[in-house]
Symmetry: C2
């Protein structure tokens, strides 16, 4: 069983994003809307978990959007005041009760504990929580 | 900024899975491998965030796999001892440093704070952390 913390569970970063994206106002809404390539530097403690990653693989990066506002429950989609307020669970807003970012990227390079990935729409310094493979058809699992 | 906890950040459940799946050994590996339909009961505090969900929509459910082992970094994929040990970040193993489950489901029914979803491979009682829409082409955002 995972150990509960006060009011929840503790996620522990396994790595950090290094990116030219520093200003939230300049960040694209999604990775395929002009996000730059970025590096993820991993904690040596999780090295064994990384060993089967391969250049060219598509992976899901889960991040902790540490600059998000957790008390927000409705937003104007895509920050467009002309669109009616919408429940955050119907949007990809970073502002939400548990601001976990989900990013589909391709691995461009692997250099020890560092991974270069294509089109990551996360700000410089964003903590990384998990990596998962994109899964294909049942026959390939 | 989100507030850091000792060694990380605190995720707070927004709801809980109610499912006939009670035995981890019986759980399918993925939702499309025979997982049952399930209900998610949400905390009244997040009601405003749910209000634009619609029956028929495809959503991603993020869960906290509270029966996972966080110290595991390599596994035999699909619990098959014939397959070589593989880094967890190249697998969908529930055992991983931050055991966040990612489940793609269709909404079958909405009843106040409860949502029925198709094919959720999460055990009864699993905490729910987030819901996100499956995003389509850029033109539809």
């Amino acid at each position: 069983m995972t150990e509960p913390a006060a009011g929840g569970f503790v996620v522990r970063p396994i790595g950090t994003v290094t990116s030219p994206l520093r200003d939230p106002a300049q960040a694209p809404k999604q990775g395929d809307e002009g996000a730059p390539d970025a590096w993820i530097a991993f904690d040596p403690a999780v090295a064994d978990g990384l060993r089967d990653l391969r250049v060219g693989a598509e992976v899901l990066v889960l991040t902790w959007l540490d600059r998000a506002r957790r008390e927000v429950l409705t937003v104007h989609p895509r920050d467009d005041p002309g669109r009616p307020p919408t429940g955050v669970f119907s949007t990809r807003s970073q502002d939400r009760p548990n601001p976990i970012g989900l990013h589909r990227v391709t691995i461009l390079a692997i250099d020890g504990l560092r991974l270069a990935v294509r089109h990551l729409e996360a700000l410089d310094g964003t903590p990384v929580l998990d990596l998962k493979p994109v899964i294909g058809p049942v026959s390939e699992r």
